[in-house]
Amino acid sequence: MQSAAIEIRDAEFFYGSTRAVVVPGLEIAKNRITAFIGPSGCGKSTVLRAINRMNDLVPGARVTGEIRFNGHDLYGPDIDPVEVRRRIGMVFQKPNPFPKSIYDNVAYGPRLLGIRDKARLDTIVESSLRDAALWDEVKNDLKKSGTRFRAGSSSGCASPAPSLSSQRSS
């Protein structure tokens, strides 16, 4: 078997002093789609959010054990959470577009990485929207408000992250 993209070993996820989830061992393969299935509240999101360190934003949340991404310990001492999130993308269960135009929504990720060149941004926005099969629907409304469209989900697509942990409603 090819080496796993993400490995979780002996991980315990806490909110404050409450132990929410235990994951003895889990491997997520490269270039495959992996789904977590379980009843509401069983900890699918907690595990998922721990993989790109979104749980750092929740006060009191912490993880013990090991979560490795391409061999690196994601919770190692010299790992920058911002860098983790730039490499591991996340698409949320509910589309949550920014209150900006469709164009600005899609270009948000690339701009965070310092891309300022208008032509390059245009290309990225178009190809991302094409990949999300939204281009024909919104190409004439790029400067209009993004909140009314599903473009929120495509802002994740414009992030040049190599792996996408996708969260979908059941």
């Binding site: 934003l57 900006k100 992030s159």
Partner: protein
């Protein structure tokens, strides 16, 4: 089903429930009515005092000053009236109206140097003391005619020659409903005076300087002082308040030290304003006199900033907290740093709320008298020229006037209250406009 609806128990239950709802509705309507009535009474009371009949007389009848009515004369003709009636006052009039420097130095400068305006070539190099008095006064009158507007010249003529005196003023209410009694009062007590309707609030009142005579006084210094003070207060308190709110909301960890700071800020918002006044007097006016210049606009602005900082911090924090967490997560999820999320998502989203808080704080600042006690002056007749100037503000002036023994100042106070309320209203409308624009730009 039909049986249930027809049953007496069901009907009486619904009836009782509806009656209770109706009572609550009526009660809240009544409270609304009471507050509207109180507000209306307040407004009526102010308006009542700002307009009305007055018993007015002149030292010199303005109709005898020139062959035509003063209202039709041009500036040079008005200046000629001054030259004819009060030649000895011309030096002071020119110095007060056409010169901006140190009054004592005026006679040591040539006219070309001292006069702020057009000066004929022929007198450019002359010192006021060089000339025989008659010649000097003729030149002064010429300068006034060249450089001063008709309105200002008429005001000068009124103050220097006509010297309007008001013996008594009546409120608008009395003027409208009790005219007969007022006329009897006029005949018995003020036979030499004439009864005219006066609006205490007019352009002259807003644009002329403070004076110890209620007929002459204006509120220019108070308006300018208020404007300077508010501008400086915004510049100091807005960046400080928003910065502090950002730190407390986004960076500070939840430990006992930060919790103490937070509790204290909430308490500071409730501290009586006179205490800030004492603090400002001790710290900014006395201790840091070298930096602030003592009783200056800077000291006043720093004191008011202290007063409204808690309001700005608290409301900015509420605004930041109200930003939906999905925005935060979406931004962080795309790999944004804390600062990128702050500057691109949180601050723009929270801006309308932050602005609202700042405006609330400023609205409080514009009406405060107590914290400026000992910092602002009451009677001052020089315009503020910079942050280091001495100053007075509208509420201070209103307070000072209501305490004067001369009852006529009360009419001035009411007129000033109307100006203050108009300023407040204009400020709040501008703020609401700004806020709505910020909201519309976002979505």
């Amino acid at each position: 089903m039909a049986n249930l609806i027809d049953s007496g128990a069901y009907r009486s239950q619904v009836k009782r429930r509806n009656a209770r709802t109706l009572i609550m509705q009526r009660l809240s309507l009544a409270t609304l009515a009471v507050s509207i009535i109180v507000l209306a009474l307040l407004l009526l009371n102010v308006v009542n005092q700002a307009f009305g009949l007055v018993a007015q007389r002149y030292t010199v009848d303005p109709d005898t000053l020139a062959e035509r009515p003063l209202a039709e004369l041009s500036p040079p003709e008005l200046a000629a009236v001054l030259l004819e009636h009060v030649p000895r006052r011309l030096l002071v009039i020119v110095r007060d109206n056409l010169y901006r420097g140190d009054p004592a130095a005026f006679t040591r400068l040539t006219l070309g140097e001292s006069i702020d305006g057009d000066v004929p070539e022929t007198v450019h190099g002359l010192l006021p003391t060089d000339l025989p008095e008659a010649e000097r006064n003729r030149i002064f009158a010429e300068l006034l005619g060249l450089n001063v507007s008709e309105d200002v010249l008429r005001a000068i003529i009124d103050a220097e020659i006509v010297k309007t005196e008001i013996d008594k003023g009546w409120s608008l209410h009395e003027s409208l409903l009790n005219r007969a009694a007022i006329e009897v009062d006029m005949l018995t007590n003020y036979p030499d005076s004439e009864l005219v309707f006066k609006s205490w609030l007019d352009v002259r009142f807003v644009t002329s300087q403070l004076s110890s005579r209620p007929v002459e006084t204006g509120i220019r210094q108070a308006i300018l002082g208020t404007a300077w003070l508010l501008a400086l207060t915004v510049l100091i308190s807005f960046p400080l308040g928003v910065g502090a709110a950002l730190y407390l909301e986004e960076y500070a960890s939840d430990n006992w030290f930060n919790r103490i700071i937070e509790t204290n800020i909430r308490n500071l918002a409730g501290v009586p304003s006179i205490i800030y006044g004492m603090l400002g007097l001790t710290v900014f006016v006395r201790t840091f006199e070298g930096v602030t210049g003592g009783r200056s606009i800077v000291s006043g602005a720093l004191t008011l900033s202290l007063l409204i900082l808690p309001i700005i911090i608290i409301s900015a924090r509420e605004a930041l907290r109200a930003v939906p967490s999905s925005l935060r997560e979406a931004s962080y999820g795309l790999g944004a740093t804390r600062w990128q999320t702050l500057s691109r998502q949180l601050l723009p989203s929270a801006l309308p709320g932050i602005l609202t808080g700042a405006i609330l704080g400023l609205s409080r600042a514009i009406g405060e008298t107590a914290p400026l006690f000992g910092i602002a002056a009451t009677f001052i007749n020089t315009d503020p020229t910079g942050p280091g100037s001495r100053f007075t503000v509208l509420p201070m002036q209103i307070y000072a006037w209501t305490g004067q023994p001369d009852e006529l100042f009360r009419f001035n106070a009411s007129a000033a209250i109307i100006v203050l309320m108009a300023l407040l209203l204009a400020m709040n409308s501008a703020a609401i406009y700004l806020r709505n624009r910020a909201v519309n730009q976002r979505v």
